[in-house]
Symmetry: C2
Subunit: 197 residues, 2 copies
């Protein structure tokens, strides 16, 4: 009878436990702000205050970072150019935390000055790239296989600070599923075993 | 009584008239295909068969074109680079049909070889651009103020035929509204009256 009552209570509380799926639009450029606290908080209990004069505020970059840092199991990143040190730190931090991180990028842009790809590989993160003349021009990420982050934004400081850009964040199977399938398709196709050079 | 019966009938039929909101994901590259018939059909009753050997098929490009050509009242385009002759024809066609077309683009890329921007202006379409060092890097369009088309795809032949790209199509106020507001904000900010050169 106690077990039945417990099950009934769990059932009754279910709608409250289920939070509303994320549906968010972020526009860039993001105003200059300090996101050190956000990264430090995600890194662990030791926190030192950042001495920089930039305001700590809710902005497009901090929101994007929070969404990425919410990963608990996996992060699949598929971006044309990845040179933002802040996003690089966030991704390495997740990897260090045990999140399974996979990165796909474009071969022609992965070695440009300031690219984060080398740092990601040094940290032990798996990175794969195309070997085609066409660009791997996607700019999306999938958090825990259920949150899609996609838009016009390359993961560069210029894009974040200077460009007009948009990012959609959605927890919606109808959109997440095809992007997950696209990621897996590309991940397999770009398997180093298939490289021809 | 007749009017009341009519109203009642309209009310009863309403759920059938209301179609499901569009929610679509398109991945590129799009396979080589002939989209002449699609453009000709949209242009008017006179149709001549295209002699090219390319297959006519349902593909990412034909789907994107169909969504754009569905515009009845307005088309707001906000794209970094616009050089695809096919998308250019579709946009001019809509303008010729009386659809209010507005185009926002990036000043540093609007004059590159193959740009469609000059042809759009020649056709009488209003085009505005940024005057900043940062890029106007958006790649979205809004059809009739209610369908959002957005993703990584620039409106270029290379992007359509060679790149890995994605486009989301959604009729969803929660996403369309912020993009409409972003468009209006940029449209006003890029008013030629504000140009400083």
């Amino acid at each position: 009878a106690l077990a039945a009552a417990g099950a009934l209570l769990a059932l009754a509380l279910a709608p409250w436990r289920r939070r509303r799926p994320v549906r968010e639009v972020l526009f860039f450029p993001s105003p200059p702000s300090c996101i050190e606290a956000l990264l430090a908080e995600a890194a662990g209990p030791v926190r030192t205050a950042c001495p920089c004069p930039l305001p700590r505020r809710d902005c497009a970059l901090s929101r994007l970072l929070r969404r990425l840092l919410s990963a608990r199991r996996s992060l699949d990143v598929c971006v044309f150019t990845f040179s933002s040190p802040q996003l690089g730190r966030a991704v390495r931090l997740l990897h260090g935390r045990g999140v399974r991180v996979r990165v796909v990028t474009d071969s022609q842009y992965m070695a440009v000055r300031g690219s984060q790809i080398g740092f990601l590989r040094l940290a032990g993160i798996q990175v794969r790239h195309d070997q085609e003349s066409g660009y791997m021009h996607h700019k999306f990420a999938i958090v825990d296989g259920r949150m899609l982050i996609t838009g016009s934004l390359n993961w560069t400081t210029d894009a974040i600070q200077s460009n007009r850009e948009n990012v959609l964040v959605l927890e919606d199977t109808e959109f997440v599923k095809p992007f997950l399938e696209e990621f897996e398709r590309i991940w397999e196709e770009f398997n180093p075993g298939n490289y021809k050079f």
